[in-house]
């Protein structure tokens, strides 16, 4: 009888656990992009998920909503231009020099500590284009960190919600 009770409760617990993990497979992160004090137009910033092979997996967020300029973000456009995934819900305004922008991005938990990276690429009208302004491996540590940028971005801060 005791055994039955134990098995029953383990079963319930495991079902609960199992169902919990299947439903809650992704987490929202607050992501803050702080720009350097460059002079010029607002920057387009594309945040993408990169798989362990270094290929684009998914677009997480786009700062800049004028599609006219998307093909200037060359590498990403090779991916997005072909797939044309619906990113309307994932766009915000461009960010100018010295400004910062906070956005909410959603990453599946299975991509953390699994060799996936997050990439921030930036482009400014009539100026440079940085494919890897910021890029780092997604680990349970790095998703709570601050990372310095190499182009228009001064730093990126990520925080699980």
């Amino acid at each position: 009888m005791k055994n039955i009770k134990l098995i029953f409760s383990i079963a319930i617990l495991s079902i609960a656990l199992f169902s919990f993990t299947t439903i809650n497979t992704s987490t929202k992160y607050k992501c803050m992009v702080q720009m350097t004090n460059y002079v010029g137009e607002g920057a387009y910033v594309v945040i993408s998920l990169i798989n362990p092979d270094g290929q684009y997996e998914k677009t997480l967020y786009v700062q800049g909503d004028d599609e006219e300029w998307y093909n200037d973000i060359t590498e990403w456009w090779k991916f997005q231009g072909k797939v044309r995934a619906d990113i309307d819900a994932l766009t915000g305004a461009t960010i100018s020099g010295g400004e910062r922008a906070i956005s909410v991005i959603q990453i599946e938990d299975s991509k953390i500590d699994a060799g996936y990276s997050i990439r921030f690429e930036t482009a400014v009208e009539d100026q440079e284009y940085y494919t890897k302004d910021v890029q780092f491996l997604l680990t349970s540590e790095s998703v709570k960190s601050k990372t310095e940028g190499s182009g228009f971005i001064r730093y990126v801060r990520l925080m699980p919600n």
């Binding site: 002079v39 006219e68 010295g98 801060r157 925080m159």
Partner: protein
């Protein structure tokens, strides 16, 4: 065709920027509806302006565990980005009082996005932006040169908004609408240029950097009630960004319209404040004024200004094409020192060239040597016997552009022999300074020892060919030549002409006058006072008749002239005959519907339009004054007058006969006798309409002037300027 520098610039700029201005205007019209449609959305919350930032933050924090930012747009819609308790993120409009989610931000329609793109860059990115910006700047210059032209035309900056003479539809409305939309257009163009300059970094926004010293603020006490969130209204906020994390060193960023403030997230202390530079202020102002966002009224003003620009493009090019037709002066066959007849022309727009050229060709055809030039090229003429000057007047009696130096040159270039001269002035009676410059030329020549007049100054209203022909007849007699005009007949617009059936034609009366009744074969809208344009087959020259309208029929009163082509043609008409003609609207001589009282004054056949008016418009009390030669003259019109009196559409009829008694009584005499009617009508916002001969008009105006100055203490010019007195005289 000579043009002043301003007119030339105005036109050249218009041609240069036409394509860009046209595209930007069309798209601008569409985009004016964007802010209007935004304002129509149901996201506006009543009395938002009573909330302060602190209240809003508290409301939101109570409802949502995580808030990214709160924004207030130009429409005063509050939007936010939050994460709810169950972990979903919400982006869109919120009610700031309850923090309730109202709805997602509607996507800007692809149509507006497409139009915006076309409007600012023509889909050409940087290059397109440059051209649109340049077009905007050119439009600004067009507005400025246009204003200068108006100032010159109105003779002074003070008269900028004075009444404009309506000579021509395109010209009149180009000027009137130009003045009205000048300010909006200047605002649109300057803000447009400013926005372009921003895009090209020619104006750069250099914002100061924030400096935060966390050492001093680390242990700051909370400052209740006095912190910036309590003292700032929500409506002043542009964007409030919440601290990124609970870390002490993360802060609020509060962006207001004129400054950016970093606020400590626990104490509410201001960590750093940066005031926006002037450039940011101007940029925001430019954007708001250029797009009209946040204001339906301003959007509508912008919309109207855009529609006006379209009209300016149309009317401007129409005028240019019309003026091009007046071409230039013909090429001379003889040199200035060989020619016997010298023709000098003064014209601002080239209108006078047509008749001058016809005269020149006529003189050549008569076998005389002739030389034609503009007044500014006046010099010595060794062989000249006859000088003929044709000149118009510009503005308030100034010389037209190609005649500005004539009076000075006249003194400096001496002639060896004595030359006979004649001056013809072209103008419009609608201007106060009618043919004033021609008078000055005439006077200057009279004072000059080498010139003797062989004819008086002839003034010609609206390029009237019949008066010009009369003048030519006199000139031929005096000079002993037989010159006739060689006119390039304008193609008769037979296609545009309508057909009218003759309903009735009376026989000629003692004054060689008859009444013709016509009925349009198709339904046409017209009013008494409009003009019937007839193009007789013989010469194709337009003749205009003032018409009366009665029971949808046209009534014209015509005097048959012995050699009158058109009046003779009309006299041969019989019932059921068909006449080709055009009805031209003549709003300056229609009886306005709202007029309570009107005095109608005419002599002879000038009664034509009034025959219609006295039998219609029952709401207007009308008094008719008419002058004729004999009682028999009146019989022609008797039935119309009786019918008007019978139906109460005519209140009184006063008649003067000049030949019935010893003492000659004219229409102005009976007007003078009935001064009470005049003062009553003028005192009650009524109008006076005069139709008939010019001589009668001048005499009547003299009498009216006496009445108004003595009884109403105002000169008649006051009423003429205010269009209370309407005239249609010939």
């Amino acid at each position: 065709m000579t043009l002043s520098i301003w007119r030339y610039s105005h036109l050249t700029l218009a041609i240069a920027s036409f394509v860009f201005v046209f595209l930007a205007t069309i798209t601008g019209i569409v985009l004016a509806f964007q802010p209007i449609s935004e304002q129509m959305q149901p996201f506006k919350i009543e009395s938002v302006n009573q909330l302060d930032v602190d209240q809003t933050i508290t409301t939101f924090k109570n409802k949502y565990p995580e808030i990214i930012n709160i924004e207030v747009d130009a429409n005063q819609f509050v939007s936010a980005s939050v994460i709810t308790a169950d972990g979903t993120s919400l982006n869109g409009y919120f009610n700031p009082k309850t923090a309730a989610f109202l709805g997602e931000k509607p996507e800007i329609s692809t149509f507006f996005k497409f139009t915006t793109n076309l409007h600012r860059s023509l889909f050409l990115k940087g290059i397109g932006r440059f051209f649109v910006g340049l077009g905007s700047f050119l439009l600004f210059l067009i507005a400025i040169t246009g204003s200068i032209l108006i100032i010159k035309r109105q003779s002074g900056i003070k008269r900028f908004f004075a009444k404009v003479v309506n000579e021509n539809f395109s010209q009149y409305w180009h000027v009137v609408l130009g003045r009205l939309s000048l300010i909006p257009i200047i605002i649109i163009t300057l803000t447009g240029v400013y926005l372009s300059l921003l895009k090209f970094d020619l104006i750069s926004e250099k914002k100061q950097k924030h400096t935060v010293d966390f050492q001093t603020t680390a242990f700051a006490e909370k400052q209740p009630d006095t912190n910036i969130f309590n003292t700032t209204r929500l409506t002043e906020v542009v964007n409030l960004e919440f601290p990124f994390s609970e870390d002490e060193e993360d802060y609020y960023i509060l962006k207001l319209k004129d400054k950016e403030v970093l606020v400590h997230q626990y104490s509410g202390q201001v960590l750093s404040q940066v005031d926006y530079p002037m450039v940011t202020f101007l940029s925001n102002l430019s954007l708001t004024w250029h797009t009209g966002k946040g204001s339906i009224v301003w959007s509508i003003v912008l919309l109207i200004a855009c529609l006006n620009i379209l009209f300016f493009i149309y009317s401007g090019f129409k005028m240019t094409i019309e003026r091009r037709k007046n071409k230039a002066l013909p090429k001379n066959k003889f040199t200035k020192d060989k020619a016997e007849v010298i023709i000098l022309v003064g014209s601002e727009t080239g209108q006078s060239y047509t008749l001058a050229t016809a005269f020149y060709k006529g003189v050549i055809a008569s076998g005389k040597t002739v030389y034609i030039s503009d007044l500014n090229s006046y010099t010595t003429y060794k062989n000249a016997k006859q000088l003929v000057v044709f000149t118009s007047t510009y503005g308030e009696g100034e010389a037209p552009i190609n005649a500005k130096n004539f009076i000075t040159l006249l003194k400096s270039a001496p002639q060896e022999q004595t030359i006979n001269y004649a001056v013809v002035g072209f103008g419009s009676l609608k201007y106060k300074a009618y043919c004033k410059y021609a008078q000055m030329v005439d006077a200057s020549l009279q004072l000059h020892p080498n010139f003797t007049p062989n004819l008086q100054l002839q003034k010609i209203h609206n390029q009237s060919q019949s008066i010009f022909k009369d003048w030519l007849q006199q000139w031929n007699t005096v000079v002993g030549t037989n010159v006739s005009l060689v006119l390039d007949n304008p193609a008769i617009k037979t296609k545009k002409q309508q057909t009218f059936k003759v309903i009735n034609k009376t026989l000629l009366n003692v004054d060689n006058t008859f009444v013709l009744q016509l009925k349009p074969t198709k339904k046409i809208n017209f009013k008494s006072g409009d003009l019937l344009a007839v193009y007789p087959k013989q010469d194709g020259i337009e003749r205009l008749y003032s018409i009366g309208k009665m029971d949808n029929q046209i009534v014209i009163s015509v005097k048959k002239h012995e050699f009158g082509v058109c009046s003779t043609y009309f006299n041969t008409l019989q019932k059921e005959d068909v006449v080709n003609a055009i009805i031209k609207p003549n709003p300056t001589f229609n009886l306005p519907n709202k007029t309570k009282r009107a005095v109608l004054i005419a002599n002879g056949t000038g009664i034509g339009p009034f025959l219609g008016m006295i039998n219609t418009n029952p709401q207007t009390e009308k008094h008719l004054f008419w002058g004729g030669r004999t009682k028999q003259s009146l019989s022609l019109y008797q039935k119309y007058i009786d019918s008007g009196l019978q139906h109460n559409t005519l209140s009184s009829f006063n008649v003067a006969f000049s030949q019935e008694q010893e003492e000659k009584i004219y229409v102005q005499d009976i007007v003078a006798k009935n001064a009470a009617i005049i003062t009553q009508v003028l005192g009650d916002d009524g109008i006076i309409m005069i139709c008939g001969s010019l001589a009668m008009q001048n005499n009547v105006l003299k009498v009216l002037n006496h009445i108004t100055t003595t009884k109403l203490q105002l000169p008649i010019s006051f009423y003429i300027d205010n269009q209370v007195i309407k005239t249609d005289c010939y």
